[in-house]
Symmetry: D2
Subunit: 360 residues, 4 copies
């Protein structure tokens, strides 16, 4: 069946017409892959500043069999042709392009940071640049689907969360919300595959420098920090400050977050698992590991799953929660599609049910 036929059978007039602005980065490429496989989406347009006019299959040869062409970026014109625009741009640009007028014509899902922080002052402090879309910011919804599902359903503008942030928040939210960990004790020690650094050339991501190497970077200063703190502060009902240390590890994809918190009382591992089941027991994309098993990035690669496991260290009174996801899927393009599904009233899982690719 063609997508049009499926749409018809599904009671839709036509498939959702999607535009990708900034399609030639890794997240854009992954989004294109997912949307091409989505039963009810038509990729209407791809844009690229640097590759306009080129075949998409020449930029990313995995798309060699498609007839997609990179277009020049023109949000207004795209808004006419599309039902939804995905923006995958460097920070600071989306807040200029996404206007109230644009939102009156098309729904927008932004991959960047411009609409993630509700407080523009916090944005300006961490990103060292002025925020140019404070008006629109007010209606933006933080697109962490499992936590903000209802608001997302009616949103015109979703701020797709960061990769580290999605993992860290999903790991810690239940414990903070239930008050079983001291919010002042939280440490997120996380690792990312190299694709998190993007397709831009840099000595640190040159093969010979990154292969066989691990390093911490941006210690105490990484811009995902305020995003994690924003969600955990909501969970705690008071401001929360955390330590966050990202590391780069020699693999293409994957986020592993190892999160530490001091327990406020003597909780058993089973008791904590109950809390997670209560929050996530019905969530398709969150898989809680069995006792004694901890998440590994290989088991989520290529999929929209976030696996979560935990261990209680009774010697130190700490709980260690470990989460794993694919930074380009649940940490970027997959969650964007999940947001789109919610915003268009589709089955939230549609186009995202593929099993992780193993070995990968």
């Amino acid at each position: 069946m063609s997508k049009t036929e499926i749409a018809s059978v599904s009671g839709l007039r036509s498939p959702v017409r999607a535009g990708i602005i900034g399609a030639t980065g890794y997240a854009g490429g992954e989004l294109a892959r997912l949307l091409l496989g989505h039963p009810l989406v038509k990729v209407e347009a791809l844009t690229s500043q640097s590759h306009a006019g080129q075949a998409y299959g020449d930029v990313f040869e995995n798309f060699r069999h498609t007839d997609l062409i990179c277009e020049t970026e023109n949000p207004e014109e795209l808004a006419e042709r599309c039902d939804v625009l995905f923006l995958a741009l460097p920070h600071g640009l989306a807040s200029q392009k996404v206007t109230a007028e644009l939102l009156s014509k098309v729904k927008v899902i932004d991959f960047g940071a411009d609409f993630r922080l509700a407080d523009a002052a916090v944005y300006e402090q961490w990103y060292k640049t002025a925020h140019h879309g404070r008006e629109v910011l007010r209606e933006a919804v933080y697109g962490l689907c499992e936590l903000y599902r209802e608001r997302i359903k009616s949103a015109r503008l979703a701020a797709n969360p960061g990769c580290y942030t999605t993992c860290a928040i999903l790991c810690l939210y239940p414990l903070v919300a239930e008050g079983v960990v001291d919010p002042d004790s939280l440490i997120v020690d996380a690792m990312s595959g190299v694709s998190g650094a993007g397709r831009g050339l840099d000595l640190g991501t040159h093969f010979d420098e990154a292969d066989g190497n691990v390093k911490a970077y941006k210690v105490g200063t990484h811009r995902h920090t305020p995003e994690i703190e924003q969600a955990l502060s909501q969970a705690a009902g008071k401001p929360v400050t955390i330590s966050f240390t990202p590391h780069m590890v020699p693999m293409n994809r994957g986020i592993l977050a190892t999160c530490y918190g001091s327990l406020t009382a003597s909780f058993s591992e089973d008791g904590l698992r109950d809390i997670y089941r209560q929050y996530y027991g019905n969530e398709f994309f969150i898989r809680l590991t069995k006792p004694g098993v901890l998440p590994e990035t290989k088991w989520v690669k290529g999929s929209n799953f976030c696996d979560i496991g935990l261990a209680v260290d009774s010697r130190t009174g700490r709980v260690i929660v470990v989460g794993a996801l694919d930074n380009l899927v649940k940490g970027a393009a997959g969650q964007a599609v999940q947001n789109m599904n919610l915003m268009f009233g589709l089955d939230e899982k549609m186009g995202l049910e593929g099993c992780p690719v193993f070995p990968g």
Copy 2:
């Protein structure tokens, strides 16, 4: 829509019920992934000698979200419940299990070597073991879909080709069939990702020994050699003997075959490309690269594509044809699904249209 609904819309009574015998190797796992994503297949059963009774999601945690359970192997019983059986077993077993009676009840697609070589004597020479299913062998069809499509459509038993073989044959068949290369000059120098060696433990596939390392192995003695020769002999219309050297390279997935042949006359690169277009121009799963571009394994990872490119070396009068595929997809599970689609009259591409996963 559920698969049953899709089947109904598609005019089928019900989805194809599939059984996987030997589901806990890498090829079996990849097959399960593809079949779970296939719109018209229901995974009816998975079997495993070593893991019977275990949750499949405990063996391969990428399936943690499913409720699949490894069953004990019982082909006769499975034949009753299934429309098709996929066998992923060590060589020598399938030829005992696949009987005429079994084939009267269920279609079979065998991943192993037992039914690939039409001449049982050749099998016995290379595999150093007796062939126990000569009768059934006669009706087996070699499941290289692009070359033997028509015969596959009506087959009850398809011998799914090897990974190296699929790549090498697709690369060389057109040139040999058209007589533009000297069949005595053919050399296939190929590389495989480590998953080709399977999930069984071995010092050579221990991470520290395989990482950062390349090696040739089984030089002149690899068992995919007679399979390649069988197809190329058909192409040449006379017996062809080739040199085949496999190498192991430090990556999970992928086959790259670099094939050498001496041109029988002074052919241009364009002329040779025309031949490939003639053979494969309408093949969805074969992507011919543009002039100046050669295939790379990253561009086919996770997909059923086989990319083919070539260069003419006029100094030496040789053509060098390079092919790339994913050893677990087009080299195993994907081609098996393609065979199944053909054998059941489904769209050949169904369940296999996913774009390659990049970066991966």
Copy 3:
């Protein structure tokens, strides 16, 4: 010059005769490499339970050009032929083999855990086995050279520290000893290359499972924990309990330890650097990174260096100390040679001055 000539010029009667018991693991192989390159050591014997009688160059083909042969293990006999024995054995064995009588004949450097923990009860608690050498344990010296140099010089038995432990202790000792971090707040989050798991076959270290994957393991239960606590307790002058989380990352070699501590007052980064300079300013093998630079495992690979850097997170009042070393060199064989140099009155750096191998 031959080693005998160098010994003569150096005023020694002859090179130090070394025996390696358990030479066919990764640490044993690395030790052989370092000792063969040591100007004043002769590798007198290598032993192996599993490979006795085999050429060492058949077990590890990097030694193909040598004439070393694996001998049967016989400590008493070796004690007659050697000046020093290195033991690289599974835990529980060294404490049986190293007797007072043996020590009267030969110096011993043990790679295992049997003599690392001064309190046999702690050993028995973490290793779940009885300690069979309590008498000898009393004279064992913990061989972390930078901290216990003077005691090592006169030792007959040195317990070579673990890989994670060396890194974690060197990172945290100065801060704990100077009282600038709260000992109850210490968290060591560390990563190891796969060689840390040894040459024994295991699904977790199978290439396809380890490549492209990261995971935490033995959370709260790893046996290096009491070793780190022992040294930090000495630094603190009171019992210290830490959280330690090891991770496996897809590279051959390297330890990266990211260590967290809450500052007891408002210290500047510069002030903390001064403390490290005071402790390690004259240590050849400890390289403090420049402000703004953090250690990476690639910069120490193949060498005996431990690089240390730090960042102060004033938002949370924590210091994050990052250390990097090569688990098989400073974390095993290199430190063992450093211990040997100290025990034999040689220049501590001898045979260990090689620059890290980059890219590696």
Copy 4:
């Protein structure tokens, strides 16, 4: 002992003073590492166009413990301070810098291609640029030590061979020289680690693009081709044309060359091994593998060894010779040191005897 003392004991007035021009590429870094470990060499100067004035330990942090500083490039001035200059520059520059006058003051070992091809016209054809040093070219010696040792000893200018070339020539020279293979049948199919592409940034060597990927490149056009042909033509006593296909594989270091030749008669594997023993039996840096064993890059990593093994394929009448070396050592910096040792009358092995680093 200091290097000066060793020089004195060795009967030299002082250590050899070495200058490295172009020290901030991978080959330059490896050379610095080897020279710092050489008992009779003093690194007098390092130069870098792009990093002049910077600490070498800031460019390559593996040298963080040294006090080396990158100087501005000034060959004439360096010629006064040094006994030997190593040039690691893009092609086309050395032929301008190395003048007769320079050679009258200092010996030169050039890593580039400018002096490798005796026939300047061949150089100009493959490198598409004029050769500016034809006069000096006449006295250049091709620095493949095992084959041209005597000429190198008295040379003032050695052209250090390429990485692929060293491996391919060492593999094929004996068979061609002895007439046991048909020179028209030679095919060299080779793989290189990514460091062969240098430290310059490029999308093809970006981690996410190179990891998990293999590809052929410059098929039939790679500039190492005429270099291999030059040596094999000398061996054959007549012009030889070969097919050479390089591949990039996802590892840092290493060359593996798989070489094919048609046997001119029915030779046994043993007979061919005898030929290799005759040519290389006394060569320290060439290790012939045992029957049934083929070289792997991991067994030579970090060392100056070239391992060679072979198999006879009697079905096709071909011999397959496999060679392995470390592209930055025997394929670049190590062979340069070997040349230096020869040119200064030192033990050829000095500074190069280190065992391969495994696992690496």
